[in-house]
């Protein structure tokens, strides 16, 4: 057998191995989603979405948890996006050489690997106790913001790095200041990457349960949170709560709530993809 043939066999072997691995992952996901759908779809109706939790699984709904999740998403976005993007811009464009930036950089990479429950403890102490926010939406969103900041910072930096140097040079040569170059050239040109990072980060935040439980999010909320200082629950906590009940009815409710949570995530990702594609049509190197 000559080496070209051998290489081709290896090539093919690897290709099929890759396909097998990918299919395995997809298959597991499909089984999981299929299972959830079979169990939960029938239970979803308008009442399920607009009802409060109840001791009776047939009457129980997800309204407070769903509204809580939307609140948390919104607040986390408001807190984390400006902070994360600014920090990314600073580290990439301003702080490159400084010692401070170096220290920050190492810490940010480390932060991305810290278990989320630790963030919960941090949030409980700082936001809940010291700043007196208690178990409010604001405390929860602040904690989740900390958790996802590293993701936003890193992806902002990557996106900025991907902008060709020639664009920066051209802008400077036209007499633009550093800030103008960032604002008019670098950020628009890296918008796709930045937005992808933001959405990934927010999707992560939506699914988080542990840190919110630690800061004192409630499992049973008989009201719809109406302001950032209100206490709250979120879908993952509601799901967790239902799953831990012995009655079969609650297991079905949990499946239905998972479907809603997945829908919210898909919508979020869909918006991200739409924005990114729209933007990338305009920006091509």
């Amino acid at each position: 057998m000559n080496s070209a043939v051998k290489n081709r066999i290896k090539d093919n072997a690897f290709k099929y191995f890759g396909i097998a691995c990918t299919s395995f992952g997809l298959l597991m996901l499909a089984i999981f989603i299929g299972n959830i759908l079979i169990e939960g779809v029938a239970r979803i109706d308008w009442d399920f979405i607009t009802n409060f939790p109840s001791r009776n699984p047939e009457k129980a709904g997800i309204l407070p948890a769903l509204v809580g999740t939307l609140w948390i998403m919104g607040l986390t976005a408001i807190i984390a996006i400006p902070l994360g993007v600014s920090a990314g811009v600073y580290l990439e464009e301003y702080g490159k050489k400084s010692r401070l930036a170096n220290i920050l950089e190492i810490n940010i990479s480390n932060l991305a690997g810290v278990p989320s429950i630790i963030y919960g403890l941090l949030g409980l102490e700082i936001f809940g106790r010291i700043l007196g926010m208690g178990g409010s939406l604001l405390a929860g969103a602040s904690t989740l913001s900390l958790l996802i900041l590293p993701i936003i910072i890193v992806s902002t930096r990557e996106a900025l790095k991907a902008v060709p140097k020639s664009i920066k040079e051209a802008s400077f040569a036209m007499g633009a200041s550093k800030w103008q170059t960032i604002w008019y050239q670098l950020l628009p040109a890296s918008f796709g990457g930045v937005i992808t990072g933001i959405i990934l980060a927010l999707s992560r935040a939506i699914g988080e349960t542990a840190p919110l439980i630690v800061i004192g999010a409630l499992a049973y909320v008989p009201f719809v949170p109406a302001s950032p200082t209100d206490e709250f629950s979120v879908l993952p906590i509601q799901i967790f709560n239902w799953i831990s009940r012995p009655q079969k009815g609650f297991a079905i409710n949990a499946a239905s709530a998972i479907i809603i949570l997945l829908l919210v995530t898909f919508v979020l990702n869909g918006v991200a993809m739409y924005l990114r594609n729209r933007w990338q049509k305009k920006v091509k190197w």
Binding site: K97, A170, K282
Partner: protein, 250 residues
């Protein structure tokens, strides 16, 4: 008075000295060509005049560089102001990933000019000056990246002209272009020299001979000879210049 002047300039990249005691005077409304073998310091020297080397961490310079008798490395010079006076065109066309229109008005926008009439007028005037108006006047809102390489380069020249500089620095502006586009850019340089002081780096001897009034020959970080282009190409004083322009090395 000289438009541009450099006196006893040294440039270092880290410990590496790449410009060695160069002095040069450049007259207003003239075209000066910088020639010399690769790596001899032409780009580095050119970029001294709009302080584009400032972004290189290990860059260090000594000496004086003046425009209209003012030292541009003075502490109270604002680089942004300086660069409105001294435009630059790069080797590879680098339009912004925006519309043709937005490319041209960028320099005005960053100066805070919002008046639509002024912007519109500037777009038309600059594109006409850069001999691009006829080709793009119906698609000003289209992406600049959809233009051909030659058109992109003329757009970059138009963009530079839009802020009405007095000096234009060009670093091999035609080297990435096909012969026809290249000829167009050359023609353009020839036209512009009535109103602008142009310094152009080029590896193309014919091009240097065609467009420039004076030519400066650089070799290993030194300025070997700067004289009328005709003299440099027909009767240079230095033997190395002679060898270079006749293609015997480099």
């Amino acid at each position: 008075m000289n438009k541009l002047e450099a006196q006893n300039v040294n440039v270092y990249y880290g410990a590496n000295k790449v410009i060695n005691d160069i002095s040069i005077s450049i007259k207003p409304n003239s075209v000066t060509a910088f020639i010399g073998p690769s790596g001899c310091g032409k780009s580095t020297f050119l970029r001294l005049f709009n302080r584009m080397n400032d972004y290189i961490d290990i860059f260090k310079m000594e000496g004086k560089v003046e425009i209209d008798g003012k030292n541009i490395y003075d502490k109270n010079i604002r680089v942004e102001e300086l660069r409105k006076q001294i435009g630059m065109v790069f080797q590879k066309p680098n339009p912004f990933p925006k519309s043709i229109y937005e490319n041209i008005v960028y320099g005005l926008r960053i100066q805070g000019i919002k008046d639509k009439n002024i912007l519109d007028e500037t777009v038309e005037k600059s594109l006409k000056q850069a001999a691009l108006w006829e080709e793009v006047k119906d698609k000003l809102k289209n992406s600049a990246l959809a233009l051909s390489g030659g058109q992109q380069q003329r757009l970059c020249i138009a963009r530079t002209l839009a802020v009405e500089p007095t000096v234009i620095l060009m670093d091999e502006p035609a080297s990435a272009l096909d012969p026809i586009s290249s000829a167009k850019v050359e023609e353009l340089i020839y036209e512009l020299k009535n109103n602008y002081t142009i310094v152009i780096v080029t590896h193309n001897m014919q091009q240097a001979a065609r467009v420039s009034d004076t030519t400066a020959f650089f070799y290993m970080g030194e300025l070997i000879e700067h004289d009328a282009t005709k003299l440099i190409f027909t009767n240079p004083k230095n033997e190395r210049t002679q060898n270079y322009v006749t293609g015997r090395f480099g």
